[in-house]
């Protein structure tokens, strides 16, 4: 049975496209994450103050204000109406993510993403069970709870915990014991819940997901007819439920991954040996014939697996 001949995830893609081709978006993503972090570190490390502040609020080239809209929203629930600078900053950030893609923040900017990706790698190496998998609505309930607690306590509640700002601010301004929050997230993802933090808990991701519901950037399973059921895309996808509707859709169904949970990380594009996926936009109407129903894997695919 072909089921017993498991090649490591992505092996076929490496053979077909070369290592760089099979890790293109992963590398680009790491570069983006490093760039965004590096811009903030230029000041404190090298005295080049292009960007001041951190991810919750910053000032670039002394003119461009940027503010985390979720933090500002909590502040408004806590009954503080912010000054215009912060409002403009939040509108810019919110607008950009609403247009480009909400959870692009999660996979291309957020400094916790490499941590949880690393945790998933360890989780896989250890052969851990997937563990506790809360419902997909959990993060929205947490999001609501955070806003309620902000209103009830008159504080920006999530910032008491938020491992993103704990890490990001910590790297820039001094971390104290805040690294423990990062460690907790790592341990949680390795031992308690596969893809647990970013996939089920984090209300920041939930917020950006809601923000980007109508965003332009989408992954499309445009070449889904070529899918050979190797399942590698499901194995690398941090939100694997988003793939099925597009990949397994009938000819009449859109091949676009429209779920707000998709982080546009592009790993499915990397890891697919037959190039089923590509980056596209939500108004892409290119026809994509559905996958031909088959009961067992193609012999061609079986041969390549055996190779």
């Amino acid at each position: 049975m072909s089921g017993t001949v498991h090649l490591p995830v992505g092996q076929e893609a490496i053979e077909a496209k070369g290592w760089m081709g099979a890790h293109k978006y992963l590398i680009l993503r790491r570069l983006a994450q490093l760039t965004f972090l590096g811009l903030f570190l230029l000041g404190p490390w090298f005295g080049i103050w292009w960007v001041k502040g951190n991810l919750t609020g910053s000032l670039t080239f002394e003119t461009l204000p940027l503010t985390d809209p979720f933090v500002l929203l909590q502040g408004m629930f806590a009954q503080h109406w912010p000054e215009m600078t912060a409002l403009i900053g939040a509108l810019i950030v919110g607008g950009v993510y609403a247009i480009i893609g909400g959870r692009v923040y999660c996979s291309w900017v957020c400094p916790i993403n490499p941590i949880t990706d690393g945790a998933h790698w360890v989780h896989d190496k250890l052969g851990m069970q997937k563990g506790w998998q809360p419902k997909r609505t959990t993060r929205y309930w947490i999001l609501g709870t955070v806003l309620l607690v902000s209103a009830a306590t008159g504080t920006i509640a999530w910032e008491v915990i938020n491992p993103i700002s704990m890490l990001h601010r910590g790297l820039i301004f001094g971390i104290g014991s805040a690294w423990t929050f990062v460690l907790v997230v790592f341990v949680f993802d390795v031992f308690v819940s596969r893809r647990g933090w970013c996939g089920h808990i984090c209300p920041v991701g939930a917020f950006y997901g809601l923000l980007g519901q109508k965003a332009l950037l989408r992954v499309s399973a445009v070449n889904r007819a070529a899918c050979d059921d190797c399942m590698d895309c499901f194995a690398v996808c941090p939100e694997m439920h988003v793939i099925s509707p597009a990949l397994r859709g009938k000819t009449a169904d859109t091949p676009l991954i429209l779920s707000p949970d998709c982080t546009n990380c592009g790993r499915c594009i990397d890891v697919c040996a037959v190039d089923v996926f590509k980056f596209s936009h939500r108004f892409d109407t290119a026809s994509a014939p559905g996958r031909v129903a088959r009961s067992k894997p193609l012999s061609k695919s079986g041969a390549s697996r055996a190779a």
């Binding site: 001041k52 959990t138 601010r169």
Partner: protein, 289 residues
């Protein structure tokens, strides 16, 4: 409709109620924990001073997004962002410790200008109106001026000299003939910059410390009438009480120029007369010791 049948079946209804209960309970537990942490974060240590213009602590944590832009624009590296487990204030919020680096009271108040949210109130445009805290001469046993020496350093460094801190001359009871120049802080002028606390020459802790006003100041006793400020009488007309003159039952017959029956009892023979009481004491008819 089959869909309707399934959604209204008892099993699904029970499932729905169970799920709802679980989600509600989960959110309540997580929310309570988060609320506890948020409220706990308000416990600002007395010696952590917020930047100029900072809103009251209960409003500050709703407004401050912990971006650190005030820290970056502070030219004297006074401000720091609190680190978890190292510093007392809520993690990531700006503060300073006056004994380490006080506020230099920049005229353009760059920290307030940098704040994007208004957690540092932009209506503060004159740094002399800042209210970061109130200096208190907290150790009056070891303060050198209180001991009668002329240290005067806190007074000399005060940016609002002779208004926020004055030296009040008092009698030195120890020597009996020297003066004590006591540093006295005036709450209407003190900005809480902490330069006095920084410069106190005592080793270790300072004798004068900036404290939050909520700790350093009492509430005025509005139920007392301060007659020297408000000269209107409490009652419309004065009550005419009977005048009291020296006489029986009082202890001051000897003065002034007190009359005593018999000159040998006069304390000083040169004292003449005085006046004669209009009545005499019942028993002896004489008054004396």
């Amino acid at each position: 409709m089959p869909a309707n049948v399934t959604t209204s079946s008892p099993v699904n209804r029970r499932r729905f109620l169970q799920d709802t209960a679980r989600v509600t309970a989960g959110c309540a537990v997580a929310g309570s924990f988060l609320a506890y942490l948020s409220l706990d974060a308000r416990a600002l240590p007395a010696q952590a001073i917020r930047p100029p213009g900072a809103l009251d602590e209960d409003k500050f944590l709703a407004a401050c997004i912990r971006c650190g832009l005030c820290v970056r624009d502070c030219p004297y590296d006074t401000l720091k962002l609190a680190e978890l487990g190292v510093d007392g204030p809520a993690t990531g919020t700006p503060y300073f410790t006056a004994r380490d680096v006080p506020c230099e009271m920049c005229e353009d108040i760059p920290c307030v200008v940098a704040c994007p949210t208004g957690a540092l109130d932009p209506s503060l445009t004159n740094i002399d109106d800042a209210d970061m805290g109130l200096a208190v001469l907290i150790d009056q046993e070891r303060c050198l001026n209180a001991l009668g020496l002329r240290c005067d350093v806190c007074y000399r460094v005060c940016p609002v000299i002779d208004e926020a801190i004055t030296l009040e001359r008092r009698h030195n009871e120890r020597s009996g003939h020297h003066a004590i120049f006591m540093p006295v802080v005036h709450s209407d002028a003190c900005t809480g910059c902490g330069k006095c606390e920084k410069s106190c020459v005592l080793p270790g802790e300072s004798a004068i410390k900036v404290l939050p006003r909520r700790i350093a100041m009492a509430e005025a006793a509005d139920h007392y009438k301060l007659g020297w400020e408000d000269r209107d009488p409490l009652v419309d007309e004065l009550i005419d009480l009977p005048d009291r003159l020296p006489g029986p039952g009082t202890d001051n017959l000897a003065a002034p120029g007190g009359y005593i029956n018999g000159t040998e009892a006069l304390p000083d023979p040169s004292m003449e007369g005085g006046f004669t009481p209009s009545f005499s004491l019942p028993d002896t008819g004489s008054v004396g010791q």
